[in-house]
Symmetry: C2
């Protein structure tokens, strides 16, 4: 199994501040970059996380890159769906 | 009042295919670039629009740039809120 990097934060359905705290913690532990990933409806929340981190908490942090792609997911009934995904790279 | 550019598509609460059609129409009318804008929860839909346009309709279209920022909006009660926004530039 691939090793999970500490500096990758997966944004899901929790409150936005949980993820903001996770990102800020990574930077405070010395990370030079943090990658925020989200899929589907959580994409909006991922953008909120990036904006709140750099506007309210860490003004020296910049959005280095934003990429989108399409992922295929397996549904419970065995069919497949496509879902949009975003990767936001923050650096300081 | 500022002139609205035809090649800017504002993504809101309509179905995703309405916006896909609007983007494809602009390219078919000769636009070299189309800018997709959205705020708040519509950001996820804006990413869907960009992904569907380039994967299903116009394979030669590339995402040239994605930027996020924070906007201040006036609430009905006179107070102000901050909302995240995204600008996705597609080019062919």
């Amino acid at each position: 199994m691939a090793e999970e990097a500490d500096n990758v934060i997966y944004v899901g359905k929790k409150g936005v501040m949980s993820y903001v705290l996770a990102v800020v913690t990574q930077f405070n532990k010395g990370a030079k970059s943090v990658i925020i990933k989200a899929r589907g409806k959580s994409i909006s929340r991922a953008v909120d996380v990036a904006e709140i981190v750099r506007n309210k908490f860490l003004n020296e942090v910049k959005i280095e890159n934003i990429e989108t792609h399409t992922e295929e997911i397996d549904n419970e009934d065995g069919s497949k769906s496509k879902v949009s995904a975003i990767t936001i790279t923050l650096t300081k």
